[in-house]
Symmetry: C2
Subunit: 229 residues, 2 copies
DNA sequence: ACAAAAGTGTTAATAATACACCCATGC
DNA sequence: GCATGGGTGTATTATTAACACTTTTGT
């Protein structure tokens, strides 16, 4: 056995992204317990005795959202020895992409959960704002190359929604003609005959994912975001 | 303070890559101490009391190689609860890219260090072979997009060396004409008037990095590896 | 003179960009 | 009939890919 002094608290924290059709959002909790009561925070938890970090992240995400089989990715470890004044804690961060329509509000005694637009993220406890910043960068990086943002979309979605999604993540304006061409060239999308008439008079066709192509291309490089020249 | 049962051992392990002009190599240690005496292993260590994971990685790397200011990147956390039978240990992995010519063999009582070609990695303790596999994938991923492999090269290097380096990392054969053109188009390289006459009769010109351009383009996307179509 | 590795150019195909108008509908 | 957002096409440029011969020099 190794020396006890090498032990440390180990937690995971989840940066959970959603998309409501207009804006990219972050799921945060309001702590109803000490320490740091009544402050906003990421959802997290300690890793339990017989659990891997990934399992802990899945457990915590399910507790908050009711969802399983969610796209989740390990990102940075935050381990500055002074980051948590309540005990030296190393936190392994995960970012998760969920379909906000599938999110079921869980009744959890100690937390109140709420979605925040990325433009209005409140002050968070400890170094959680840094974690969010890191997750946003990671999301931008990854989504410029791989079609992961489709994880945020419901089963049926329109092209204008995808455009808003990418525009929200990158804070840019896309040329819809060129972007549309690139989207369709991936063969990821299947047009349905239904239209979304809520957001316009003309109505926009709903598309679904071609799940075979999606699985195949999930790790492939696709340049979704134009180079800024 | 949080409950003591949430504590766990936390270590870092370093996957250290080098390049000798022909092959990509891995720096491993032979353990001269229990547990797992006389087996090959990655270099690692526990995170100390007042240390962040990054600081621990830097300390461990320096102890083994004598080098500071090395390119190092946090990668996966290995935290399967059964991964280490000597105590539940979570390991944060780092991969490092060093100039093998700058490597100074350190006299360390408990270890014997040696370089292994990627094609001849021995059986390692615990899950260290998985860590190596993960580091190799990460290296491939990252180096296809960013010029990080230059971290492996000495101050002066030839184009044929760069070609061997990329061919070794990806286990492919490159078209040297197209690759050469892409390399030069990055403006990363400065031709010197010296030639390396060791590896051929004609001799190959030495190049240096243009460090301004290198800093500028370090995070930029450059497609070094052709798409397999 | 020949072997061994270095170096160099052209063409064709593909992908990326810039850009502007018509369409369908609800009011 | 008009305002709103949805949808489409083309021309230009830039990038990538395929492909083979000449150069240098040590032996």
């Amino acid at each position: 056995m190794y020396p006890e002094t090498c032990k440390s608290f180990v937690a995971i924290d989840c940066i959970i992204f959603g998309f409501d059709g207009e804006d990219v959002k972050l799921l945060l909790i309001h702590r109803g317990f000490e320490p740091l009561k009544d402050q906003w925070s990421l959802m997290g938890g300690f890793i339990e005795e017989m659990e891997s970090p990934d399992e802990a992240a899945i457990r915590v995400l399910k507790k908050l959202t009711g969802l399983e089989d969610v796209y989740m990715e390990q990102m940075d470890v935050f381990g500055n020895p002074n980051r948590d004044p309540y005990g030296k804690t190393i936190s392994i961060c995960y970012f998760a992409l969920i379909d906000i329509q599938k999110y079921k509000h869980q009744i959890i005694n100690d937390y109140r959960a709420a979605w925040f637009s990325l433009k209005e993220v409140p002050e968070l406890i400890l170094d959680h704002n840094d974690m969010v910043a890191s997750a946003r960068n990671r999301l931008k990086y990854k989504a410029a190359l791989h079609p992961i943002l489709f994880e945020l979309l419901p089963d049926k979605f329109t092209i204008p929604q995808i455009v808003s999604l990418y525009e929200g993540v990158y804070d840019i304006i896309l040329d819809k003609r060129n972007f549309n061409r690139k989207l369709l060239s991936t063969k990821l999308l299947v047009k349905t005959s239904e239209k979304d008439k809520l957001n316009s008079k003309k109505g926009a066709y709903y598309f679904k994912l071609n799940s075979d192509v999606y699985k195949e291309k999930f790790s492939a490089f696709i340049n979704f975001i134009p180079n800024p020249n």
